[in-house]
């Protein structure tokens, strides 16, 4: 927020009486009243008193008045559809006020400020993220400031056409081809008219017949030739431009910040690359040329019929607006029917997919009859929708043609009169009718254009939204490129939350020496992975700093730093490539000898050579023949070859046999040696080998020390260890 919200007068008066002379340090309005109905409540920190009051009437009602010194901590409790700000007052939790999700960001900031004030720290100033469109107030996507309502469609179209700028020459060629093709298309009806008037009606001038037919043939051939040429050039251009857009889009996706990926499902992003860019290609390769040729045809035909007989032309065009209106409403009805059909088709598809995926569960619970019943219901739904859609189509389509033909009825009648009275020749009437036939098709098409264009341009805008989203490289990018990274890591009072008002890591401070191994221990959801994510600089800490070799992580060049960072993750991920390529992923220039040496250290060499294709064996999606243990060892070999200074080890608790387990542990021990390692540890052996252990609970460090120290302390770690031993015992007995 640029300016602090101004207090209503009633609240000001109340504040003045409760805290005379106290200056207002925090003031924030909530959008929920005390009864949970929508209304206004104010939280004010004036002097050393925290006041909450309702400000709906002329006089503000005081709801709460607390001395700041009583508050030890302030937190946000996430509710459904909203959240509440709570203060810990003498060990008791007191609700200050609640608010809807719309204000989540604002009160996240208020929480931090009030918390700081209660702890006697300076109140942090923080910018509220712009989440609403400044012009219309529409809520925007988190990473994009393009307002879908206000963005000018014209701007999107211009930007899209901007992509065809490198191919300007071809663009001009297409224009010329389109116009000349349309012009040649206008010749045949004219020649037919001449043929009727000069040859057929007077039954003479037979020598002209051959020439006229040749003219007809010639213009048809020429117009077809031009059409083919144009089609080929536009296809090339459309394809090329959407290729460029896809390339830009994919490159952008690679650099987008992780926060963006947190908020968008993979499916939605895939659809942007495939469907939206396909939509744009349709627009460029087929849509725009169509629109332009149809427009040119409409104009050319109009001119021709005006030349032939302007009175008749006016008569023929009178019903045109009416026809447009009627056809448009008919089309809309039909589109709705088909939308409904496709929507139900999607749901039907989902049901089948779901049922086939859990076929074992269905059988185990003998629920086949229920499933068949469910299927039947959807199937009937689909039947209804498809019959309705097809019947609507079958009815409306002929009707549209009937309405469109109405103009020619007028022409037949009045044109007939003109001809009988000698104002018009038969040939001209024929030509006129032929032109009219050419007119209605494009006219009808043009009524669809707005609809169709807006859909394609929305696709274009969705693409631009990705292109405009915040990327890694836009984060404050460090400049320092150290010669070497030794791997001394220090966290100083680091606080971070994926949602700002909900910190997941709270004031974490610790230091680890280069080459040491630090084990992170804690329940799932305690914040271990988040601490690692911050080390990888996938996210920046909200408060506090992280230092690597004494350099603030924000100042380090991200590129150089990540190059010295390696990870072996819980889920061994292999790319669709050969095993050798997978091992060399972090060092593509590695020689076969280096790859084999790394594989040998990872206890992977022998099983790889025993594969039918050895190091050329395909891994990844089609690497079904690799077991979990094998995949893990390939990932370890990849990390060994990459030779990172700082290693992240997210141990897998995979179900592998004892021998493989031992092989993996050996490999990990070789990998870890001499590197600063952050291990999310599950194995006792790793915990024991770690130089220090960081025991985390609810985002805070609860214990820090070596295995032996913590075991002797008999605290949280000791209990965890105890639990671990018992479950291991169970596993050992049962497994």
């Amino acid at each position: 927020m640029a300016t602090p919200p101004t207090l209503p007068e009633s609240v000001q008066r109340l504040v003045a009486t409760r805290s005379p002379g106290g200056d207002v340090r925090i003031a924030a309005p909530s959008d929920l009243g005390p009864t949970g109905l929508l209304g206004e409540r104010w939280l004010v920190l004036a002097g050393d008193r925290v006041l909450v009051c309702a400000a709906d009437g002329a006089e503000a009602d005081l709801l709460l008045d607390l001395p700041l010194s009583d508050i030890s901590e302030v937190e946000v409790e996430n509710l459904v559809g909203g959240a509440a700000l709570r203060a810990v007052v003498k060990g008791r939790k007191v609700d200050l006020l609640s608010f809807t999700n719309a204000l989540g960001d604002r009160f996240g900031r208020v929480r931090a400020q009030l918390d700081a004030a209660a702890k006697g720290k300076p109140i942090p100033e923080r910018e509220e993220k712009v989440k609403r469109c400044p012009t219309c107030g529409l809520v925007l996507g988190e990473d994009s400031r393009v307002c879908p309502r206000c963005a000018r469609r014209g701007a999107a179209l211009r930007r899209l056409l901007g992509y065809s700028r490198p191919y300007r020459g071809r663009l001009v060629l297409i224009g010329v081809l389109m116009l000349s093709g349309t012009a040649f298309g206008l010749v045949p009806p004219y020649l037919t008219g001449v043929l009727v008037d000069r040859v057929l009606v007077p039954k003479k001038n037979v020598h002209l017949l051959a020439w006229l037919v040749m003219g007809l043939a010639g213009s048809s051939v020429l117009s077809t030739g031009l059409q083919i040429w144009r089609g080929r050039v536009t296809a090339w251009l459309g394809g090329r431009v959407s290729f460029d857009i896809r390339a830009a889009l994919y490159e952008r996706l690679q650099w987008l910040s992780l926060r963006y990926f947190d908020r968008h499902t993979t499916g939605a992003l895939i659809s942007r690359i495939t469907q939206d860019s396909g939509g744009v290609q349709d627009l460029l390769a087929f849509g725009l040329p169509w629109i332009i040729t149809n427009l040119a045809t409409v104009i050319g035909v109009s001119v021709m019929i005006l030349i032939i007989n302007w009175k008749l032309a006016v008569l023929a065009l009178i019903p045109a607006p009416l026809v447009s209106l009627v056809t448009r409403s008919l089309w809309n009805k039909m589109r709705a029917a088909f939308h409904n059909f496709w929507y139900r088709w999607g749901r039907f598809h989902g049901l089948v997919n779901d049922a086939l995926n859990r076929v074992k569960v269905i059988k185990a619970f003998s629920q086949q009859p229920v499933e068949i019943q469910r299927y039947q219901v959807r199937n009937l739904d689909l039947l209804d929708a498809s019959v309705y859609a097809e019947q609507t189509w079958g009815t409306i389509f002929p009707l549209v043609w009937l309405v469109m033909g109405s103009g020619s009825l007028l022409v037949w009648y009045f044109g007939g009169l003109f001809t009988v009275h000698g104002d018009l020749t038969v040939g001209k009437l024929m030509a006129f009718l032929a032109y009219l036939g050419m007119l209605y098709g494009p006219l009808n098409f043009l009524t669809q254009v707005t609809q169709w264009m807006s859909r394609a341009l929305t696709a274009a805008e969705r693409i631009f939204e990705v292109l405009d989203a915040e990327s890694d490289s836009e984060q404050t990018k460090g400049e320092v490129v150290p010669e070497q990274i030794h791997g001394e890591v220090e966290y100083r009072n680091v606080t971070f939350g994926y949602e700002k008002h909900q910190p997941v890591v709270k004031e974490v401070s610790f230091k680890t020496a280069p080459g040491h191994m630090l084990g992170l221990v804690g329940k799932s959801g305690a914040g271990k992975t988040t601490i690692i994510n911050l080390l990888c600089r996938f996210y920046d800490a909200d408060e506090g700093e992280i230092y690597v070799d004494g350099i603030n992580l924000r100042d380090l060049s991200l590129w150089a730093y990540r190059g010295r960072l390696g990870a072996v993750l819980q889920e061994p991920f292999l790319f669709a490539a050969t095993i050798a390529e997978n091992i060399a992923y972090g060092k593509p220039e590695a020689s076969l000898e280096e790859i084999m040496a790394a594989a040998k250290l990872a206890n992977a060499h022998d099983f790889i050579v025993n594969k039918p294709d050895g190091y050329d064996e395909q891994a990844g999606e089609r690497g079904g023949r690799l077991s979990a243990g094998e995949k893990q060892r390939i990932c370890i070999a990849r990390a060994i070859l990459h030779d990172p200074a700082i290693l992240i080890l997210d141990e897998a608790t995979a179900n592998v046999d004892l021998e493989t387990e031992e092989q993996i542990q050996q490999a990990i021990a070789r990998l870890v040696e001499g590197r600063t390692t952050f291990a999310i540890a599950h194995r006792l052996s790793t915990l024991r080998n770690a130089d220090n252990l960081l025991v985390i609970d609810d985002g805070k460090i609860v214990e820090f020390g070596s295995h032996a120290e913590l075991e002797a302390k008999k605290g949280v770690y000791y209990n965890l260890l105890d639990l671990h031993r018992k479950t291991s015992l169970v596993k050992a007995v049962s497994g």
Binding site: T578, A580, L592, E593, M596, A597, K600, L601, N603, H605, D606, V609, N610, P612, D613, G614, Y615, D616, Q618, R622, L658, E661, E662, Q665, Q666, A669, R670, E673, R683, L684, S685, R688, N689, H724, S728, K731, A732
Partner: protein, 176 residues
């Protein structure tokens, strides 16, 4: 299991590379294959396994013990420099192990509802081949090399699609 501590490895394992001069390969009097490595090791019925059978088949040959999980005795460099008798033995073993017919020409290809019957002329003779779900059973190597796996799991290598004749290329394009 978890309480077993593998500890820090004192001696990280290394690969053993072998020059052709260090290796002797011969048939013993009883007819069995033998390999002698250096002065110290004699391997009975060694297996010769290509490390990169597809991308660089002759670079390294792993000399391994007889059983499927047999130990590796060393990685033999440039085996073609072995003495002629040994080379012949290794070559025969490799020929036996790697059945990778190379496609020289595609004689015909017919499509029956997603199943393709084709006749391939390979360096091991002409074969009738049935392909199913071809698009899932084709591996691309670099730009022009493809490996096609047929419905029975046999593999056919097209080392360079551009080297095929025009008609073969046109037929191949229908399934790629």
């Amino acid at each position: 299991m978890a309480d077993h501590d593998p500890g820090q490895p004192k001696d990280p394992p290394a690969l053993r590379y072998l020059e052709p001069e260090q290796v002797k390969i011969y048939r013993a009097e009883d007819g069995s294959l033998r390999a002698t490595i250096g002065e110290e090791l004699s391997v009975l019925s060694p297996r010769f396994v290509r490390v990169c059978p597809l991308t660089d088949p002759d670079r390294y040959i792993s000399i391994r013990g007889d059983d499927p999980h047999g130990k590796e005795f060393g990685l033999l460099k440039s085996w073609r420099r072995l003495d002629p008798e040994a080379r012949r033995l290794v070559e025969a073993e490799l020929e036996r192990r790697y059945l990778h017919p190379r496609v020289k020409r595609i004689v015909s290809l017919k499509d029956y509802h997603g199943v393709q019957l084709c006749v391939l002329e390979t360096d091991r003779g002409v074969r009738d081949v049935t392909l199913r779900d071809v698009r899932d059973n084709i591996i691309y190597f670099g730009g022009t090399r493809v490996l096609i796996t047929d419905a029975e799991g046999n593999r056919y290598d097209v080392p360079d699609t551009n080297a095929l004749d025009r008609r073969s290329r046109a037929l191949l394009a229908r399934i790629l």
